[in-house]
């Protein structure tokens, strides 16, 4: 079983338990914040005068603990990290919004969730902060149109995590961040002693064991490392409906679950040239033709609108494929035959890119289907596997007629439909959106 559970990724009226789960999470959240003393604005504001650094201690302990558990579970293969919501990075609106929040924090004495804990325990200032919040959020909705472009584009970097920024594996970064957090706690206690006249001897002794335990767990994450692409590939499962004939002759659709290798063996991921071509004219899906051959082959002949990403470079665009395209994007990997395209398929699905298919027979088969009567394409007798089986008079790229077959000439095409659109999680399905 892979977490997060698909049934709980978003609320739906069809499954009332989703509301219970999210309300339960919220309950624990509010309970913990109140318990920590965040219903009292003085405790929060004291952070900014170095009197009491409870905010920093609670927040960074929470981040360090959750991060260690999360990446530990990822390392064990319990959690699929690509299904975890990672806030996309918008530097422009993030920095300005963050600074504005800081102003609201020190003026109002709360942040949104702590104001809930405060208001619910009868603090009038907490209630007014909440009320002001409704006005502020409303005003944002009203004024967003004035800077819509900046809000959506400025410094947009998509799903970007710190390990990518620093070029370090996550499993190395986790213990480093834990160490930094522990160092900050030490510093925070020194500040409390200096500015808040706190007696450190009265702090509980167990906090040192807690720190040691947390660091040991973070080292555990380092030992586990991240699951390899191969591990993730082996754990994949695909759902397909299969039509079987019943005893009385009537067809019946049965849901089946296949492994990735089953999908290849049953050829369920191979889309025929006809289907790949027709996909271009379907409203429901947006095909992206990923040509994974070498640039030289691509220059000789490629489908119109196809994108050349040689297999070697494919890994570098995976983060973009995960975060950028519309939810109904279907990727079709294209090789000369199938070998390279299947490799690309394996890598993409293991990285949890949705809706990836392989062009059946690759470019060679495409030319058989659409370019058979093109006399400038001469079949080669002794081409090696996964090489072009045609001789091209010139590197015309996509200017051969069969690179962009005329839809009117190919109105009626027979094919077995393989593409099953799997809508990926909506962007607004996660985060504080």
């Amino acid at each position: 079983m892979t977490f997060p559970l698909e049934a709980f990724t978003t609320v739906s009226a069809a499954n009332p338990w989703t509301y219970v789960v999210f309300a339960g999470i919220g309950f624990a959240f509010g309970y913990t914040l109140e318990m920590a003393g965040f219903g009292d604005s003085r405790k929060l504001a004291a952070q900014f005068y170095f009197k009491e650094l409870t905010v920093l201690k609670v927040m960074f302990t929470a981040i360090a603990v959750a991060m260690t558990l999360l990446f530990g579970a990822v390392g064990l293969g319990l959690i699929d990290f690509s299904l975890v919501w990672v806030n996309p990075t918008y530097l422009g609106s993030g920095v300005v919004g963050g600074l504005i929040m800081g102003v609201g924090f020190i003026v109002g004495g709360f942040c949104p969730t702590t104001s809930l804990a405060s208001a619910s325990t009868g603090r009038i200032d907490g209630m007014l902060f909440m009320l002001g919040g409704f006005v502020g959020a409303f005003l944002f909705g009203e004024t967003e149109g004035l800077f819509d472009h900046w809000y959506n584009e400025s410094g947009y970097l998509g799903r970007l995590t710190l390990d990518q920024v620093f070029g370090l594996p996550v499993s190395v970064l986790v213990p480093i961040i834990v160490l930094v957090a522990l160092f900050m706690f030490w510093g925070a206690e020194q500040l409390e002693r200096a500015f808040g006249d706190k007696d450190l001897d009265r702090e509980p002794g167990w906090r040192k064991f807690g720190a040691a335990g947390l660091f040991a767990a973070a080292l555990g994450v380092l030992v586990l490392g991240s699951p390899s692409l191969e591990d993730r590939y082996q754990r994949l499962s695909f759902k397909r409906m299969e039509v079987v004939k019943q005893a009385d002759g009537k067809p019946l659709s049965v849901p089946r679950v296949y492994s990735a290798d089953d999908m290849l063996a049953k050829r369920l991921v191979f889309t025929s040239p006809a289907e790949a071509f027709k996909a271009r004219y379907l409203q429901a899906i947006k095909p992206v033709y990923l040509d994974v051959r070498s640039e030289a082959d691509y220059n000789l002949y490629h489908l119109v609108d196809s994108v050349n990403v040689p297999l070697k470079r494919l890994a570098t665009i995976v983060p973009d494929l995960l975060s950028e395209p519309a939810a109904n994007t279907v990727f079709i990997t294209i090789g000369n035959d199938e070998a390279a395209a299947v490799e690309a398929w394996k890598m993409l699905v293991a990285s949890r890119v949705q809706n990836v298919y392989v062009l059946e027979g690759g470019i060679n088969h495409w030319i058989e289907v659409f370019g058979a009567d093109d006399t400038s394409l001469k079949p080669l007798a002794n081409a090696r596997p996964d090489q072009l089986r045609y001789d091209f008079s010139a590197a015309l790229g996509s200017r051969y007629k069969s690179c962009a077959p005329n839809p009117i000439d190919h109105e009626e095409l027979d094919f077995q439909a393989r593409i099953v659109l799997q809508l990926k999680r909506d962007k607004s399905g996660g985060g504080c959106g």
Binding site: A62, I63, W85, S93, I100, G104, G122, L160
Partner: protein, 179 residues
């Protein structure tokens, strides 16, 4: 009355030690990721409740405002989002902890040198400013700093430092409010 008495007049207990509270919060956050793939949050619910209200009062306005359109356009129900039950759950959770620990009291928490009225105006203003910023940054201290921090989202760490930076930069000038 006995029941009310027992809820509102319990002996007030001390707050939990910060590191312990943080560790519990971390486990809660981890469980949220484990079960749902989402972290914690709340400011999104504020704007969704706003959108629901606007949708009732002026549905055409929703259709003319792109930001509201995304949440409440057409037959979309802005409240049909995971963050809304989290929001109400947090209210209930805060109340329950307050009740269990004898902290339910109609009062105002403020610095020693300002009147209640000043504190009320400031908290309203602060809430307004905070949520404006939170919507701009697409999340607040919980949705960005806490949840994004734990998933190592680069933008969330930038936002976290911006929040603290903004607050520290202004703290000296508004010290009358707090010390």
């Amino acid at each position: 009355m006995k029941l009310l008495e027992s809820i509102f007049h319990r002996p007030e207990k001390a707050y939990v030690q910060p590191y312990l509270a943080g560790a519990i919060l971390g486990v809660v956050l981890f469980l949220a990721f484990l079960l749902t793939g989402n972290g914690l949050g709340s400011s999104g619910a504020t704007s969704r409740i706003d959108a629901a209200l606007v949708d009732v009062v002026a549905p055409t306005h929703v259709d003319n405002t792109p930001y509201l359109l995304k949440m409440a356009g057409g037959d979309k129900n802005p409240l049909d989002d995971w963050i809304v039950p989290v929001f109400f759950g947090a209210l209930l959770g805060g109340f329950t902890s307050g009740a269990r620990n004898g902290r339910l009291k109609l009062t105002t928490t403020k610095g020693p040198n300002i009147s209640n009225r000043t504190r009320w105006v400031m908290s309203f203003l602060g809430g307004m400013i905070f949520l404006y910023g939170a919507r701009m940054a697409r999340g607040c201290t919980s949705g960005q700093a806490l949840s994004g921090g734990a998933t190592l989202a680069a933008g969330s760490w930038v936002i976290m430092f911006s929040i603290f930076g903004g607050a520290y930069a202004l703290a000296y000038f508004v010290r009358k409010l707090w010390i």
